[in-house]
């Protein structure tokens, strides 16, 4: 019990810390932060339930006014924009990622983590974020996808990083990868 709660809290803090790492800029010129990598890692490392709880905890602290989002932003306002579909989709993304991790056993863990991160951190996340944006911004499917397209290459890179980091952590500290216990 104590271990679960501490891991959930520490991973919520890690999501915040990853948002502060220096941004790397893609060829498209769009800066990407490692914050959504943190969401994927919550799923791949903590598993479905704990991963989703860590993300919910992170979002709750953003909502009450802590500056934990990339760029030091926070507060209630970020939840009222059409992009908030990503925020609301984050816990689902972590849950789906963790679910895939927990239910698949005959794959190399790094490869599996990348696949899980694609399914949870991209497919499930955008399945929530795109309709949300369409309604909030009052635009069609195409316009939404064009608006979000600059971020997708970065997200794909992050799924690969999620695989490398999860695999590396599993080698170093197998007991810490709760999704595999």
């Amino acid at each position: 019990m104590e271990r679960n709660v501490v891991y959930i809290a520490v991973f919520a803090a890690l999501i915040a810390v990853l948002g502060l790492l220096p941004k790397f800029t893609l060829m498209s010129g769009i800066p990407i932060t490692a914050q959504s990598l943190g969401i994927m890692l919550c799923g791949t490392i903590l598993g479905a339930k704990r991963g989703a709880l860590a993300v919910l905890l992170f979002l709750a602290l953003v909502a009450i006014g802590l500056p934990l989002l990339a760029g030091g932003r926070g507060g209630l306002g970020v939840f009222t924009t059409p992009w908030a579909g990503f925020l609301f989709g984050f816990p689902v993304a972590a849950f789906v990622t963790g679910f895939v991790m927990e239910r698949t056993h005959n794959l190399n863990i790094g490869v599996l983590a990348t696949i899980a991160a694609i399914i949870g951190g991209i497919v499930a996340l955008y399945a929530i974020a795109i309709p949300y944006y369409m309604v909030g911004a009052g635009v069609g499917l195409w316009d939404s996808m064009i608006t979000m397209s600059p971020f997708m290459p970065g997200d794909l890179i992050k799924t690969v990083l999620a695989g490398l980091i999860t695999g590396g952590l599993y080698n170093a500290r197998p007991n810490a990868v709760l999704s595999r216990l």
Partner: protein
């Protein structure tokens, strides 16, 4: 870990958080039934007036609004591209009012009051068997550990550079996670030493 809220004792600070949040929720929902751009423009002026009535709120509010302006701009351009100037303006104005009001509540509410309200809202979960005490504990732990982990990430970045690496970037994430899970196991132990989670 400091909140983004403004220190101060203005009229808006003195209002209780619960009613403030309730008003915000009702107004936010009601805004979706308003389609007249004139009304929304007046509402936006009203929001600016709210900010102007509190010391320092305009500056901080504008800083919080900066990334939102990008979002608003892109949405408007997409609408304009299809000739929907009025519809685009309505969406954008509504968005600015919504974000502005929500941030105003954040800026004028103390963190501890927000936490209390949040835990109060979650308290019915106890009926479902959720250990709500653990939630409050977890809140505190995140606020405690975030600065510690930021410092740790900074140390790792420096030791990366000290040994010739140019940019540490994502490569410090794995070592960061390894030290952090080691710490987490120690913290869980220390928590048990003082009675654990009841």
């Amino acid at each position: 870990m400091l909140s983004i809220s403004l220190a101060g004792n203005s009229w808006a600070h003195r209002l209780r958080v619960g009613p403030k949040m309730a008003v915000l929720a009702v107004v936010s929902v009601a805004l979706f039934w308003v389609d007249a751009w004139v009304v929304l423009a007046l509402a936006l002026l009203g929001v600016v007036a709210l900010y102007a009535s509190v010391d320092g709120a305009l500056r901080k509010g504008a800083w919080l609004m900066k990334p939102i302006l990008w979002i608003v701009g892109i949405i408007w351009i997409f609408h304009a591209f299809r000739g929907e100037y009025v519809a685009g303006s309505v969406v954008c104005l509504r968005l600015l009012v919504l974000v502005g009001l929500a941030n105003f509540v954040t800026l004028t509410s103390r963190l501890s009051d927000m936490i209390d309200l949040f835990l109060w809202l979650l308290s019915p979960l106890a009926l479902l068997g959720v250990r709500t005490g653990a939630i409050g504990l977890a809140f505190g732990m995140v606020m405690r550990f975030t600065p510690v982990l930021i410092e740790r990430a900074g140390q790792l970045t420096q030791s990366w550079r000290a040994r010739g690496g140019k940019r540490a970037s994502w490569r410090i994430i794995l070592p960061l996670f390894i030290t952090v899970v080691d710490d987490a196991d120690r913290v869980a132990e220390a928590l048990r030493a003082r009675g654990g989670i009841q």
